[in-house]
């Protein structure tokens, strides 16, 4: 399959993996004082921290899966870089839905995951990308792009905004996404995965996990 078509398929919000349940923690951020005006800066912060970790983990998982290797230590490296249990749970929930979909469409893609009980979304995505022949750079751009769209789509549901404004934010973030991909595309070992944390996002994510006033799971 042509890798551009694979990329479109995986990046499409209509992919049935529950993307609409995620806000990239922007719901909690808006509830704790972030304004719609701050969303572009919030996107940049994510792309340089939690999303960079996710993209790096996915790229290393893809490399390992493509070489027939084990993904357990990639998942351990990701978890060590994700101190917030709320963020780990959100990622594992998305990993579960992607694994279910992949199990129906491309069951062989899941072979590298068979020892893992609850792999992160990045680990599952890496295994799927390896199976479908998606290059590392494309995979990293997918992770970055998906994160930006997730935040912007959620912001549209939470704040009164013109959809064109939100799409403008996505467009403006594209160079940052490209920079993120350039930073992680060549990674091959779990120890190299970026580890930039974001204490403020972690605080918001933890608070969101225990509130019942929310539209989005995370």
């Amino acid at each position: 399959m042509h890798h551009e078509l694979v990329l479109m398929l995986l990046a499409d919000a209509r992919l049935p993996v529950g993307g609409h349940t995620q806000s990239g923690t922007v719901e909690a951020a808006l509830a704790h004082g972030l304004t719609a005006h701050d969303v572009p800066a919030y996107l940049r912060t994510r792309l340089r921290s939690v999303t960079l970790v996710e993209a790096g983990s996915a790229v290393v998982a893809r490399h390992r899966a493509a070489c027939g290797g084990d993904l357990a230590d990639v998942d351990v490296a990701w978890a060590a870089r994700t101190p917030s249990s709320a963020l780990r749970q959100a990622s594992r929930g998305q990993g579960r839905t992607l694994r279910r979909l992949a199990g129906l469409l491309w069951p062989e893609a899941l072979a590298p995951l068979h020892d893992l009980l609850a792999p992160s979304r990045a680990t599952v995505l890496g295994a799927v990308a390896a199976h479908l022949g998606l290059p590392a750079g494309s995979l990293a751009r997918l992770v970055g792009y998906d994160d930006v769209q997730t935040v912007c789509a959620a912001a549209l549901k939470l704040a009164p905004l013109d959809p064109a404004v939100a799409t403008g934010w996505v467009a403006a973030a594209l160079p940052e996404i490209a920079a993120l991909a350039a930073e992680v595309a060549d990674l091959t070992s779990p120890g190299e995965i970026p580890a930039v944390g974001c204490p403020q996002i972690e605080v918001w994510a933890q608070a969101h996990a225990v509130t019942n006033r929310r539209l989005f799971r995370a």
Binding site: A80, P83, Q200
Partner: protein, 248 residues
């Protein structure tokens, strides 16, 4: 990392249990790359059969441009080291130069390290790399308190790259990098100036969703974190007490 103007001040501390049940053995050494090097002197406050208590006392002004502090700690199997500091540390304006503060601690089986850190203040114009590398064997326990302050009161934040790696039995438990400066701190710290942390490793507390500041690490252990505009708003006295209690 190494610049020609760097002055390396190295402090080594090793605590070992006495095989005959006597007072634990404490060995320490300080070496400076030149006579003007700032050093951290380990002052033994107390030691008995169970533990050594050491204060890390800075000799000379710390932390200035070109200072490279290396603290290398070994706590052998079954021994315990409690570290305290007489006061906080200020990283001053480095006018384009840099400094670093690297700590490496290795703990043997069932060893214990507690470290009651005092505030580390990164003044405007400072550019500091601060590393903490911890390696724990099975059964080892660690409790570390840390207060990071970006900028003195009313001042812009200085630059600081904080790198933390923790491995228990060679498997990563916590790996984190915080590249903090005037540009990144508003996003990474949400505009706060102070980040307080308490790290507890090798001991497991029951899950408690009522404690919002506590992060239960995936591979065991806990990290408490609080952000604040001032140090007292971000302080975690209860977490530090709970961590010390868990260490025993």
């Amino acid at each position: 990392m190494l610049t020609s103007t760097e002055r390396v001040g190295r402090t080594r501390i090793r605590v070992s249990a006495d095989p005959d049940g006597g007072r634990c053995r404490v060995r320490s050494a300080m070496t400076g790359s030149d006579p003007s090097t700032a050093l951290v002197r380990p002052m033994v406050l107390h030691h008995d059969a169970r533990a050594a208590r050491i204060s890390l006392v800075p000799e000379g002004a710390l932390l200035l441009a070109g200072d490279a502090i290396e603290v290398d700690i070994t706590v052998d199997a079954g021994a315990r080291l409690d570290l305290v500091e007489p006061g906080g540390t200020v990283a001053f304006d480095m006018r384009g130069d840099r400094a670093r503060w690297d700590v490496r601690a290795r703990l043997g089986r069932d060893a214990v390290l507690t470290w009651a850190g005092e505030p580390f203040v990164v003044a405007a114009g400072a550019d500091v790399s601060r590393r903490l590398d911890l390696e724990l064997a099975a059964g080892a326990g660690v409790a570390i308190r840390d207060t990071l302050v970006l900028g003195r009161y009313g001042e812009r934040p200085g630059g600081m790259r904080q790198h933390t790696t923790v491995a228990v039995e060679r498997s990563p438990v916590l790996v984190e990098e915080l590249p903090l400066d005037a540009a990144t701190a508003p996003g990474l710290l949400g505009g706060h100036r102070v980040l307080c942390s308490v790290l507890l490793l090798g001991r497991q507390l029951a899950p408690d969703p009522a404690v919002p500041d506590r992060y239960d690490l995936d591979a065991g252990g806990h990290l408490w974190r609080r952000l604040g505009a001032q140090a007292h708003q971000a302080a975690l006295p209860d977490a530090w007490r709970d961590a010390l209690k868990a260490i025993g």
